[in-house]
Subunit: 757 residues, 2 copies
Amino acid sequence: MDSLFTVMADPEFSNWERAALWSVLGTAVLGLLYAVFLAAQMLRKDQGTEAMRKISEAIRIGANAYLVQQFKTMLLLIFVLTGLLYFTAGEQHIKIGRAAAFILGAGFSWLVGFVGMNLAVQGNVRVAAASRTSFAEALKIAYRTGTITGMLTDGLGLLGGTLIFMIYGEQAYEVLLGFGFGGTLLALFMRVGGGIYTKAADVGADLVGKLEKDIPEDDPRNAATIADNVGDNVGDCAGMAADIFESYEVTIVAAMILGWASFGHKGVIFPLLVRAIGVVSSIIGTYLVRTSEEARAAMKAIHMGYATSAVVSIVGFVVVGFYYLRFPAGEMLPGWISLGVDGLDMRPVWTTLVGIALAISINYLTDYFTAPEKNPVQFVARATQTGHATTIINGFAVGLESSVWSILVIALAIFGSFLIYQGTNPTYIAYGVAMCGIGMLTLTGNNISMDVFGPVADNANGIGEMAHLDKKARQTLADLDAVGNTTKAITKGIAIGSAVIAAVSLFNAYITDIARFTGQTYEAIVPLLSISEPMVFIGFLIGGSIPFLFSSMTIRAVGRAAFLIVQEVREQFKDKAIWEGTKKPDYARVVGICTSEAQRELIGPGLLAVLAPVIVGMLLHKEALGGFLAGIILSGQLLAVFMSNAGGAWDNAKKFIEDGHYGGKGSDAHKASITGDTVGDPLKDTAGPALNPLIKVMNMVSLLILPFVVAHQEGNLFVWLVVLASIAILAVVIYRSKQESPAVLKWQAAIDKASTV
Amino acid sequence: MDSLFTVMADPEFSNWERAALWSVLGTAVLGLLYAVFLAAQMLRKDQGTEAMRKISEAIRIGANAYLVQQFKTMLLLIFVLTGLLYFTAGEQHIKIGRAAAFILGAGFSWLVGFVGMNLAVQGNVRVAAASRTSFAEALKIAYRTGTITGMLTDGLGLLGGTLIFMIYGEQAYEVLLGFGFGGTLLALFMRVGGGIYTKAADVGADLVGKLEKDIPEDDPRNAATIADNVGDNVGDCAGMAADIFESYEVTIVAAMILGWASFGHKGVIFPLLVRAIGVVSSIIGTYLVRTSEEARAAMKAIHMGYATSAVVSIVGFVVVGFYYLRFPAGEMLPGWISLGVDGLDMRPVWTTLVGIALAISINYLTDYFTAPEKNPVQFVARATQTGHATTIINGFAVGLESSVWSILVIALAIFGSFLIYQGTNPTYIAYGVAMCGIGMLTLTGNNISMDVFGPVADNANGIGEMAHLDKKARQTLADLDAVGNTTKAITKGIAIGSAVIAAVSLFNAYITDIARFTGQTYEAIVPLLSISEPMVFIGFLIGGSIPFLFSSMTIRAVGRAAFLIVQEVREQFKDKAIWEGTKKPDYARVVGICTSEAQRELIGPGLLAVLAPVIVGMLLHKEALGGFLAGIILSGQLLAVFMSNAGGAWDNAKKFIEDGHYGGKGSDAHKASITGDTVGDPLKDTAGPALNPLIKVMNMVSLLILPFVVAHQEGNLFVWLVVLASIAILAVVIYRSKQESPAVLKWQAAIDKASTV
């Protein structure tokens, strides 16, 4: 066994450390076992009536069909990239390791989404069933169903990173890069594909159902209902889980890379220990989420669980740090670092605490900007009374402002990490930022529980409506759905925030890598990346524009796909039997259209993400590529938060009005609020969240191509061929992304003809 | 005389150069005289009927009232800043010079707006009068009225810069900074105040007139009509003129500063010569804008004039460069630089040509994204058929995409300037970028003519409607109005593009200044500003967020002000005599509300612009301030173009439908298009354009406070007081910017009460 785990044979490691590594591995397995335990517990619950089971089954089949299709679509790309990664690495065992790790990362990312989603669709019907008798039980099932995905994320993320480190030791870097890239790339596809799927189905179902036919959401006669519910799962559950899994992975990869470079093995083992503590505290915290039948205090219970996990983590970090972070005694460090103990260095602990504070602040901000009772949503809701335009304008203003505070707290966290490591060298500071990211994602188990709780409760509510449950059960489900909307919205902030911190860490790795590949010192690289250098500035301008292009593409993609759904649903409603409810609509056709459209539409944004850094790097060289990455981080963060929170505010303004304010359902204010919500849909559920993996994919691709960029700085035929081919492909992709689909053009021609006659 | 003009006595200057400087000054005066000639010519034209004159007079009084009020509001601030500038400069004569130049810059900026606007409101009634008999004549009057402002901009900009250089010579730098800052600050206030005014009046007039009462735009019974027309002038004419004047100023300031540092006097005189050539070619080109009565080819004539000016300029640059840019012969430069002539350096010429190419590209892009017949607007127009939400979403996608191409051509222009100076030192490259900015603004005379043509034609059309002119005249005015909308939209692209190039030049000056104030070499400063430095990155994140905050504030301000107008107009309509048209509404009250609201609302964004760099610089030091500036440039450019073009696309999609497509006026598609237009209004006419001066003000403030930032790097009580006071003021400003106005709250309370009863 020791022959595989090179680290175990390394004399530099103490027995204590070897034991620690094994126990980290054990904790990862524990997390996975806990997920299995929760899944088994959930699956034993009552599935309700035949009707409910059938609906749930339809959702499950649709969701699986999508993920399997997604997997097939990606197979070719994964195959090609695995080959590229294999042939471009140096030594033989690194080649194999990196290629294998890439597949592992992609596989884990997909698995988290696939298994989590499958269990979510098993959970929803059981929540609906439980709602008939007990609020407390329904809440518990819904939340724990989310925790399954949370624990899968925690467990697999920790397992992969730890195993790779134990096997490759000092050489883990290149292999970890493959692991991170696999997870990131898959998350991008899950986010984009899932986002297009879910919003095409949602917008399509609403445009025909709510606006044209005036029937309620989830009316079983609407052919897009099942697709809409499937969409909630592939978007909010699978997409989100893959996204956070990947941030979880990338931060640990960055921390391990930078930790090894600055502190040797302690720098690597400590983040793993922190993660292990996080897993344990998430298990404890999530287990405690429960409420009494009378109180029905779901939100309070969830917050309590979160707080418990946070406290357990903080105590754990401090204790473990205090005993482990001892270094050969030198000059006495200030008291806040050494706590008066010779050789003790508590700085990594303090940076993780900064990360936890960041997570809490971002949760607070997201809640403030999107919760119905707070000022911003009230501001948007008030505007609905003066019409569609003012609703949009006010939501726009709210979204813009929210991104400001969000980026300021992130800047503050980086500043905190910087202050903690002030006076040391740059890699130490970079390590501090990476540890801040580790701290921020400590409570990933809780965050994903909260997030997945959203689609589970939403679906349960849908099943309740379609299966005509009694009024009390419906109320319970509606309440849980509302809570789910809040928790789901809150975690979006964490997803983008962690993406930025992860990207900043990767960006630091980019700089150290330049030094490595050019054989220069870090200090010699610093001036190359100065914003006073024109090439850096040019790269920076180009990078900043990419999130805008990417968002434009994904928003258009949703529009095109939604249009096809609208056509299909209208077509089916022409069948009188379907309209009267005597014949079941063909749900599968709509599911099929969503699936194939989402696949088709994700190719463009995916290629943009992979090829843009290649073009910039090869054509404009490493300095421009550095600026490019910085530009993407900045504009990506601003745009993502703007779109997510504007969308969230519109969504909840609509809910606020539906609760009976400003005339309630059916009023003009309500119509304006629906406009806001519909505008927000592709922003908050497709374009916005997809920017998180985009930022990271581009950083990862840059790290991977850096050796070539450095080797081919002079330029040669090969470089020109790669650049020209990439530009040609991108040009086609961008051109195509702006074409209307044939269905739209056909429809338009018909209208033009009708209006001339 | 020579005692005042130190440069004239400088033996380093050849007689030829002294003559050149005098002739540049002469050209500036020539431009001003041409403006006077055009004004006299225009004022002699027929003013039409009594009714028309009265309307025009009302607009003129309203517009003047606003600008005078604006001036008073700013007096205190100008007074304080003049004092600060005086006391913070070094030597006595520099002190006086800088303070005086600040007043001069602010005064010129205001004067361009004030005089230009006054003549524009004289012009509009004459255009309306001419429309009764001749299209060609109406076009000529409208366009030449615009040219008056254009020539004022050219003339005063060139005059100020040249005079300061001739007086201060080598020490002109500090003084020019004051000149630039004065112009920039005033432009910010004109843009923000004018933008709030124009959109509050426009949105207010439309919401009550078009949507509630279903009466046409410019119906004389609507109390907001005059304010709406005034708004077009203060926003599009005065605001825009001040904005471009200031870019014109800032680029020449940057080119002179960098030119002196790199090439000595030739580096300063050449940009002045380029500018003088631009003035002459603008005079020629604008003079040629005319069309025949049969052809009615307004757009073609304007394009022809532009092309003529461009060709004259290009020829002029090459010829003057060829004879003037001779340096002591050294090693032979490559043929494309020296054209085979020993000592000749044509690089400054090539970079100005890059600038002209950039201007043309940006004009093309803006036209592509906002012209009714092109794909993007068609894409938005099509979406109106599926409702309000899809209209907004598609416009959003179009706006996002447009900012990508715009930033890419800017990056390309910088890259071009870089390639031209590749292999030389950084200040040469910076000079190249500044010369690119000079080139870009060569045709300022034409650009402003095109821009001001917009509000003149718009107002003439409004007067035509209010004075009930005959059908043929109305058609002529409507046609001119449509052309004006296009030309106005096109020049917005140039305004923001030039702001970015100007800001990049200032940014380069910032770096050279750090070297100067710290007494270090440029090379020693470069690594300090590396994006690998955490403080630079933090500043960069903060900077990027400012345009988002600023836009959020200005958009909210428009909403608040518009709401007050809505209330006032509704109130006046309650008077039956006004509704029936037997009594004139109280236009002055609405004008008064717009004026006072615009003044009140511009304080917040103005303080943000001035204080944010102070806080970042004092608290986080010069490195962070550098990152901050880079962040502002990036996100400011992206956001400004996004907002301007999305707004332009929505606007023209509405016009496209009003021309009879998709059901034409009154259809559901038309309603959706009005929503788009209304959403776009504050984006394209308030928030978007105000970002141009914002970017530059922040760069200017940073340059001005840099000596203090450097001197107080260690921090002391004084610094902390400044920082704390600034933060406190900003906190109050931001808090207040989010409060609803008392009128809204009162109205809301009334509604709440009504709905509970």
